[in-house]
């Protein structure tokens, strides 16, 4: 059941933090920008502001990714905690989101696993576009995994590759985006990429996920640690990868 508010204004608490100097204007704008419920609702801004000023989360990518994943689970009826205010800390939210994302059935269907297209495969890179969640997941585990988990295993950090299919369905079907996974094979291409995004290390750039909208514009790029790379930089990355595809 959804929480309904007919007269209360969203972002009341965040505005209070802003007025009292606990939250900067820049951070307030950023919180509004990453709230997936959008300007009509801003349902999560207050909660995020509280987490941010209390330093329960200090990384924008972490906050953006998890809050977006939570919103998708909520929209699909999979979130256990339906009201975000019931999460005491960001860590509580992260734990629930990760638990659900890893709790999908162990489905195996060879037809669906092979439902992807190899877009480029040469000595420099391997690029695929998955058309099914199972293909997205199985390919990611094979070719695009760089995150070391607590148990020492390696997995893929991108939400579209999680065991639960909600995030894939949301990006691929509902938002109608094309998802590209790129594995960077050659050191030569890796060095060129580092010139475009000098703040990332080698491991981060070994795998990239690029999301393309129906109109051909880019949503952005996520590196292997799931850290976001802005649209303008994405255009440069795309140009470079296109160039190396022909080499």
């Amino acid at each position: 059941m959804k929480k309904i508010s007919l007269i209360s204004e969203a972002t009341t608490l965040a505005r209070f933090y802003l007025k009292s100097g606990q939250l900067s204007q820049e951070d307030f704008e950023k919180l509004k920008q990453i709230d997936p419920t959008g300007p009509d609702k801003f349902k999560f801004v207050d909660w995020m502001a509280k987490q941010w000023i209390n330093k329960n989360v200090t990384n924008w990518d972490d906050l953006r990714n998890k809050i977006e994943e939570y919103a998708v689970l909520l929209d699909n009826g999979k979130a256990i905690t339906k009201n975000i205010d019931n999460f005491r800390t960001f860590e509580d939210l992260r734990t629930e989101v990760d638990d659900i994302s890893n709790s999908g059935a162990n489905l195996s269907n060879k037809d669906l696993e092979s439902d992807f297209e190899i877009v480029a495969d040469n000595e420099h890179m391997y690029v695929i576009a998955p058309d099914e969640h199972l293909a997205s997941r199985s390919q990611a585990l094979k070719h695009f995994s760089h995150r070391v988990c607590g148990d020492g295993k390696i997995d893929c950090a991108w939400c579209t590759t999680f065991k639960d299919d909600s995030q894939f369905v949301d990006k691929y079907f509902v938002r109608d985006q094309t998802i590209y996974y790129c594995a960077i094979k050659s050191d030569e291409l890796l060095e060129k990429l580092k010139e475009i995004v000098p703040d990332r290390d080698d491991c981060s750039l070994r795998a990239l996920a690029i999301l393309v909208n129906r109109d051909g514009t880019y949503t952005g790029t996520w590196d292997s640690t799931d850290s976001f790379i802005e649209v303008d930089t994405t255009k440069e990355i795309v140009n470079l990868l296109n160039e190396y595809r022909k080499k």
């Binding site: 309904i4 669906l112 690029v127 058309d131 691929y172 079907f173 296109n242």
Partner: protein, 245 residues
């Protein structure tokens, strides 16, 4: 494909040979031709994706009914045009947000918690016999009126709809939100609302004297907001909460 269409026309899904059809029709759609210069382009047409998603949705509904219609049914963003006739009860939330192709709901449907039709822009009316035990969300649908026999247990949210009129003697056991409903100029007689009535940004020019509101009435950005608090209070003596102008 013929079988798929035929079964769709029958509206019932029990005998749908999902897995076989899926493999034949929608899985492995085959390679697409790349652009020479840019490989990072939108792939698969919207229609292809919609077909796949439609298929997933039908499978989900079929399984939901098969399993006794227990719990919530979330179909957000699905390209579904209708729900099957044998979906008569949802024992949780029925979430149809952004089902932009959805044209109608089955008659005599009972939703035991919330029914959310937000942004279902092809919904212009509700079926007869609809019962929603908690909240009915109709935000940004194209609904113009409510059926006479509609039963809603708590709130009715008509935010930004082209609703033109409400049924006479409507009783709302929660709040009624009509904010941004530009086509509504008056309210029916016998309207009773337990909590709030939100009329902000409407073209309401008059209020019935028998209007009963247990909570506040919001009248900002309406022709009535030019009147004084006393004038409004005199017009609607049965409003118990604040009058916000």
């Amino acid at each position: 494909m013929i079988k798929f269409k035929k079964i769709l026309s029958e509206i019932y899904f029990e005998d749908f040979p999902f897995e076989d059809d899926y493999k034949k029709e929608y899985a492995n759609l085959g390679p697409e031709i790349n652009s020479d210069d840019n490989i990072f382009i939108p792939r698969r047409t919207k229609e292809e994706k919609d077909k796949k998603l439609l298929f997933r949705t039908y499978r989900k509904i079929r399984d939901y009914i098969k399993n006794g219609s227990k719990g919530d049914l979330y179909l957000r963003g699905s390209p579904i045009e209708f729900l099957p006739k044998n979906l008569t009860e949802v024992n949780g939330d029925l979430i149809l947000i952004r089902c932009e192709n959805l044209k109608s709901l089955p008659n005599n449907l009972t939703v035991n918690v919330d029914l959310d039709l937000e942004k279902c822009r092809n919904i212009i009316s509700l079926p007869s016999g609809l019962k929603v035990k908690r909240n009915l969300y109709l935000t940004n649908t194209n609904i113009t009126e409510l059926p006479l026999d509609l039963e809603v247990g708590f709130n009715i949210i008509l935010y930004r709809t082209p609703i033109e009129k409400l049924p006479n003697n409507l009783i709302v056991n929660g709040s009624l939100n009509l904010e941004g409903c530009k086509n509504i100029t008056s309210l029916p007689t016998g309207l009773k609302i337990k909590y709030c009535l939100d009329l902000r940004d409407t073209n309401i020019t008059e209020l019935p004297s028998d209007l009963e509101v247990g909570g506040s009435i919001l009248l900002q950005s309406t022709p009535l907001s030019n009147l004084s608090w006393y004038e409004i209070k005199k017009m609607i003596p049965k409003v118990k909460g604040d009058i916000l102008l």
